[in-house]
């Protein structure tokens, strides 16, 4: 039996943990407790990461103990355990869970408990994966920095004064800080991939409909997608196979099986594959260090036998604008349900008649943060009589143009490649007063949501000028998620060979004596 101390244990990938659990070299209780200890060490206090809004220790340990008992007893039940049984996971607090609060990062849902589990949660429970807790996010997933959480920002483990990306900064930071081996995120315009890029982790937005959205609190229904967050490409493939597949509770769920993802991640070659550089998604407006790491990845793929071609997507210049019409329009409709009647906060007006409309207006004024209000107002504007055709209608046409651009690009290339974000992590507070500057961070990730295609971000190294992580984005046609895992895993192994180990080995050590131990709640 290999003896591992806890700091070694928490650095293993999910696949490595799964193998050690199956071989009974460690127990799930030991693994789960090691992560809970890590959360206690690095998440709380003034300098803590603050990735978690809620820690679910008791339930997680109970599930872990159950898996351990089944393994110890052996027999058919042990044989039937899922490969990831006993491997813990963190969940973005936009996804509803029985037994834990779900806040969506908003005051309007403070203290609310869902009476049902999201489909992805049911699948985690069926696989007997202990849920460590719920992770921080920009309120209702609206933001690129996690600063728009009503419960305070999450810090980037690479530099505590910088943002961990958003909206899923909590999930990405938890995985980057070794507080969890895996996490769930949601991606509407880049909220899985951009946090992955700036924290040196892997994030996958599956094809729209490849993973059920049932139980993900809706932001923009035609763009939202749940997906995996991890430290390796293989781990994301393993997790997508757990949570994916058809769900009758989501009428947009695809019936395709998506069951070759793990095999694709293990393919190990890209020989003869055509990889397309999107002319519009690099160069001007991209930080020099990002561009350098991007070019380095291209060289590695070329050396591995891939053919690099250049493609052009001329309509991408309209993507950000169209996104900021479609998304808020859907937001204004989806968030109408937070009215102080059926769940969450109710605030009574200070004076005047106590009518339901005035109670709603007072509740929504007190319960929503600025970014949410901005988007609701913008969406209400874009959908209003007289503006509908010019705004929402035009934006939907742009969506068609973006799909056509992708169709033409994929006629020339098997996968497309770009930097995930134009810059490395910016400083906390830097873009709080300039919403438009924050929106620009999603310029490379938004087109995939507009077209419903899958996108994977993996670590591409550190930018020379600031030593912060850079993300490489891979894109494939709809339903071809497997291609991303294949190319992603090959690029990851080439890069790690070059670095002499995982990128996160170079992240600063957290949990020094100055950090106050204790949960974030």
């Amino acid at each position: 039996m290999t003896e591992l101390n806890n700091s070694e244990l928490i650095r293993l990938s999910a696949a490595q943990l799964a193998a050690k659990l199956a071989a009974r070299e460690v127990t799930s209780v030991e693994v789960t407790q090691a992560y809970l200890d890590r959360i206690a060490l690095v998440d709380g206090g003034a300098d803590g990461i603050h990735a978690f809004l809620h820690v679910n220790a008791e339930e997680a340990l109970a599930v872990a103990a159950e898996v351990d008992a089944i393994r110890a007893a052996g027999g058919a039940e042990a044989e039937a355990l899922h490969e990831l049984a006993g491997v813990p996971i963190a969940v973005k607090d936009l996804i509803v869970t029985i037994g834990q609060p779900t806040t969506a990062g908003s005051k309007i849902l403070e203290g609310w408990h869902s009476p049902y589990d999201a489909t992805v949660i049911k699948r985690l429970r069926a696989a007997k994966m202990p849920i460590l807790g719920k992770t921080n996010l920009d309120e209702f997933a609206m933001g690129s920095s996690t600063e728009h959480s009503a419960y305070g920002p999450t810090r980037n483990p690479w530099d505590l004064d910088r943002i961990p990306g958003g909206s899923g900064g909590g999930s990405a930071a938890a995985v980057a800080a070794f507080e969890a081996p895996l996490a769930l995120g949601t991606d509407t315009g880049g909220s899985i991939r951009q946090p992955g890029a700036v924290t040196g982790t892997v994030g996958m937005k599956p094809t729209y409909g490849a993973v059920s959205r049932y139980g993900a609190i809706a932001m923009a229904s035609s763009l939202d997608q749940i997906g995996p967050v991890s430290r390796t490409v293989l781990d994301s493939a393993l997790l997508q196979e757990v949570i994916g597949g058809h769900d009758p509770f989501d009428s947009t769920s695809l019936t395709d099986p998506f069951d070759t993802l793990v095999a694709a991640a293990k393919t190990g070659n890209v020989t003869g594959m055509k990889i397309g550089i999107i002319k519009e998604l690099h160069g001007e407006g991209y930080q020099a260090g990002v561009e350098n790491r991007f070019n380095e990845s291209l060289e590695l793929l070329k050396e591995a036998g891939a053919e690099i071609v250049e493609v052009s997507c001329p309509n991408f210049k309209y993507a950000l604008g169209a996104y900021y019409l479609i998304m808020p329009s859907e937001v204004s409709s989806n968030l109408a349900k937070f009215d102080g009647v059926r769940y969450g906060l109710r605030v009574l007006p200070e004076d005047g008649p106590m009518t339901i409309e005035r109670v709603m207006a007072a509740t929504r004024a007190a319960g929503f943060g600025d970014e949410v209000k901005r988007r609701i107002i913008l969406g209400t504007y874009a959908l209003s009589a007289g503006y509908y055709d010019a705004y929402y209608g035009s934006a939907q046409k742009v969506r068609t143009l973006i799909q056509r651009d992708f169709d033409a690009a994929f006629a020339q290339a098997d996968v497309l490649i770009s930097p995930t974000a134009p810059t490395t992590a910016f400083k906390l507070g830097e873009k709080l007063d300039d919403p438009l500057a924050m929106y620009l961070n999603d310029v490379a990730t938004i087109p995939a949501n507009m077209a419903g295609i899958p996108g994977l971000s993996l670590p591409g190294g550190l930018a020379d000028e600031d030593g912060l992580p850079v993300g490489i984005q891979l894109l494939a046609p709809a339903r071809e998620d497997a291609r991303l895992y294949r190319v992603g895993a090959v690029l990851e192994s080439l890069l790690e060979e070059k670095w002499g180990g995982p990128l996160l080995d170079r992240a600063p050590v957290l949990g020094s004596s100055s950090t106050i131990a204790g949960g974030s709640n």
Partner: protein, 98 residues
């Protein structure tokens, strides 16, 4: 396309049922004007011959059997409500008293 001003924002906030202070209206009007200005090129991007896409992956006729599935009990449905009475959501007056 028209610019967005403070009165527009006040009207939209009423439609969206969000109470806003005078200071908030001023700030929001300024911020939204910048955003609206940045998205206006979208209306000139596509011609009349381009169809709209409302959903990224075409699906049609998604049906299920017309049978009653899982439903919440009244207690579950009311579990997160700010106020309830005799198994129902309790709300303030629907109509103005005056």
């Amino acid at each position: 396309m028209a610019a967005i001003n403070r009165d527009d924002v006040a009207h939209l906030a009423r439609l969206a049922h969000i109470e806003m202070s005078a200071e908030e209206l001023d700030r929001m009007a300024g911020e939204l004007a910048v955003i609206v200005d940045s998205v206006k090129s979208v209306s000139e991007a596509a011609g009349d011959d381009v169809p709209a896409t409302s959903h990224p992956i075409p699906l049609s006729n998604v049906f299920r059997e017309d049978v009653v599935g899982h439903t919440f009990t009244a207690e579950q449905a009311l579990s997160g409500a700010p106020d309830s009475f005799e198994g129902r959501f309790k709300v303030p007056a629907i109509l103005d008293e005056d």
